[in-house]
């Protein structure tokens, strides 16, 4: 069966999300040869310049829909536009990034198209005519492989798992510019607000000491601060549950809804390794994980694994480092 795939590109403040370039790589992974087609879809206000840039960088044809209204994302209209395009073009696959936007409209779009929707996709396998998708379940402790045989499939990729598309392109794709005329009046978009500044400490740090639920008590955070102090150019980050508890600030959160970081060293202390966290740190230079659970998912992403209780290991490490530094 020939595949006709639409990759939905997401932009924010005039730039494409890296995760959208990753979704394009995913689409390339399961499209083969000359028969399969990939088109890119972009929804934005006055999208022409972005669409041209996209056609140049991807070499693919781009359908750009001018949605007006500051280019703000609107779930109802997104679903309507994509449903219309599906009817017109006969797409068999939609591939989109599992950002908070992709996860917002992907499942609803599947209902409209009577399609199968798979979220959190980390890998695609082609087995003859059948596509299989790998995704994490049970907090990353188990991988699930799902084979899909639906006529239409919506693939939502887990950010950070595919490499961003970077093939060299010989000639730019075509651009098809359109106007959006759908109403979508049950939801009104009132704007966007920034609730916390990007954490420059995390972005600039060469070493991130990151902490998860394994810290057990708020008082133990001092250990993590002490560990960070062993290094220069270091910062403390953490997983979402600690931010929800109020033990860390949300700007220290590493993961899908927090920061995506790539320090030289990522030291994960007491972090289980849920997919949401992994997406934000898996491309770090060197990863050391300390966790009392030998089966913790974080170990699958680590260069060095230390099976210990972080609350006792950190003091031991600090003392050892003191001693060895002077040797």
């Amino acid at each position: 069966m020939t595949k006709k795939t639409a990759v939905i590109f997401e932009s924010f403040e005039g730039k494409f999300r890296t995760a959208s370039w990753e979704a394009l790589t995913c689409a390339c992974d399961f499209s083969s040869g000359d028969a399969d087609e990939i088109a890119l879809v972009l929804l934005d206000e006055k999208p022409e310049a972005l669409a041209q840039a996209l056609a140049r960088q991807s070499g693919r044809s781009v359908i750009a829909v001018d949605t007006g209204k500051g280019g703000l994302y609107h779930s109802e209209r997104t679903k309507t536009i994509l449903t219309d395009l599906f009817r017109e073009k006969g797409f068999t696959h939609f591939c989109l990034a599992g950002t908070t936007q992709g996860l917002d409209y992907g499942p609803g779009l599947a209902v409209r198209l009577q399609a199968e929707c798979i979220t959190g996709v980390e890998k695609v396998l082609s087995e003859g005519d059948r596509l299989s998708f790998m995704r994490s379940v049970y907090g990353g402790k188990i991988m699930e492989k799902r084979a899909v045989q639906a006529p239409v499939t919506i693939i939502v990729t887990q950010p950070g798992t595919f490499k961003p598309f970077s093939e060299s392109v010989s000639s730019p794709g075509t651009v098809d510019l359109r106007e959006d005329t759908t109403p979508g009046d049950t939801i009104r978009h009132l704007g966007i607000k920034q609730v916390q500044k990007t954490n420059s400490a995390l972005a600039e740090a060469s070493i991130i000491v990151s902490v998860g639920r394994g810290v057990k008590e708020e008082e133990n955070l001092a250990l993590v601060q002490g560990l960070a102090a062993v290094f220069t150019k270091s910062a403390v980050g953490g997983s979402r549950p600690l931010c929800d508890l109020g033990w860390l600030e949300y700007k220290q959160q590493v993961g899908i809804t927090g920061a995506t970081v790539t320090p030289d060293l990522y030291l994960a202390c007491g972090i289980s390794g849920a997919a949401q966290h992994i997406s934000g740190m898996r491309n770090s230079g060197f990863i050391v994980a300390i966790n009392i659970d030998p089966k913790a998912a974080i170990f699958n992403y680590a260069d060095v694994c230390i099976v210990e209780d972080m609350t006792t290991f950190i003091p031991t490490f600090i003392a050892t480092a003191e001693k060895l530094k002077h040797n």
């Binding site: 924010f12 779930s75 950002t99 908070t100 996860l103 917002d104 409209y105 499942p107 609803g108 599947a110 209902v111 199968e116 929707c117 959190g120 995704r135 994490s136 379940v137 049970y138 402790k141 188990i142 699930e144 492989k145 799902r146 084979a147 899909v148 045989q149 939801i187 009104r188 978009h189 009132l190 966007i192 607000k193 916390q196 990007t198 060469s206 070493i207 062993v230 290094f231 979402r240 929800d244 949300y250 809804t257 060293l265 289980s272 060197f286 050391v288 659970d293 089966k295 170990f299 699958n300 260069d303 060095v304 694994c305 230390i306 006792t312 031991t316 490490f317 480092a321 060895l324 530094k325």
Partner: protein, 260 residues
């Protein structure tokens, strides 16, 4: 005004225990020792409903779950927190259903009940799909928003203002017409513990149990195969005592020129 909160029962594994894959490799092994509890994200949804009810006391809150007999416990838990009524869509012992099927089961029985607001967690901790909420909104033909981190319900205006948490420290500000569905993100509130008096009431209360219909369509995802994740890096496990591990780590970081 009526609020529906959808809650899921998930297995609670001892963090240090291995999760075992069953022989068919399509599910995991549950035994008499497996504990189950309410999906954490759904606890936030229940709490948010209770906070709305505090503002508008004439609201009633229904808690609903889909699952086998034992799943009734999470409906009672929601009632222990303060929900007024419980609905249990009773399935067979199997716990894995396509998100689309779960959304349709819920849509089938809620269609005629005219809920003004439906709340649920942003995803389940076990399957981590985040699909039932937005699919349910679509089946009911009502507006929905996911990953909500703040909301303000205005029954008199027939709207709900919601803040969706998006990437990089930003929030999207939306206003939705009621009826609407919101999936809530963790951190939106601090879920309360059930109170003793509510727990006693929940224990006595009769849940409305509805048999789940047979699967109304063959799931298109036909084959599932579970396995343990592969290592993506060296994953060198340091041997020895804690002191030995600490010394090895120090040397490795020195070799990598991370420690001078």
């Amino acid at each position: 005004m009526k609020i529906l909160v959808c809650v899921k029962q998930v297995p609670e594994f001892d963090p240090e225990a291995e999760i075992k894959i069953n022989e068919s490799r399509q599910g995991i092994v549950f035994d008499h020792l497996t504990a189950f509890r309410m999906n954490r994200f759904d606890e936030y949804a229940v709490e948010e409903a209770l906070l709305i009810k505090k503002q508008f006391p004439d609201i009633t809150i229904d808690a609903l779950t889909v699952g086998p007999e034992s799943a009734a416990a999470v409906v009672r838990r929601a009632m222990g927190m303060g929900a007024d009524h419980g609905i249990h869509i009773l399935t067979g012992e199997d716990r894995l259903f396509p998100a689309d099927q779960v959304a349709r089961w819920i849509a089938d029985i809620t269609q005629t009940r005219e809920y003004d607001l439906i709340l649920t967690g942003v995803m389940s901790e076990d399957q981590m799909q985040g699909q039932v909420g937005p699919m349910l909104a679509e089946y009911l033909g009502i507006p929905g928003a996911t990953s909500v981190i703040a909301e303000s319900t205005r029954p008199d205006q027939g709207t709900v203002a919601a803040e969706r948490e998006i990437e990089g420290g930003y929030r999207e500000l939306l206003e939705l017409n009621l009826p609407a569905l919101l999936t809530v993100q963790s951190g939106i509130n601090t879920p309360r513990y059930p109170s003793l008096s509510n727990v006693m009431r929940a224990k006595r209360a009769r849940l409305e149990t509805v048999e789940a219909g047979t699967l109304t369509s063959q799931p298109a995802t036909t084959i599932t195969d579970l396995h343990y994740p592969e290592k993506t890096r060296a994953a060198e496990v340091l041997p020895g005592t804690q002191e030995e591990k600490a010394a090895q780590l120090f040397r490795i970081l020195q070799e990598k020129a991370i420690i001078p």
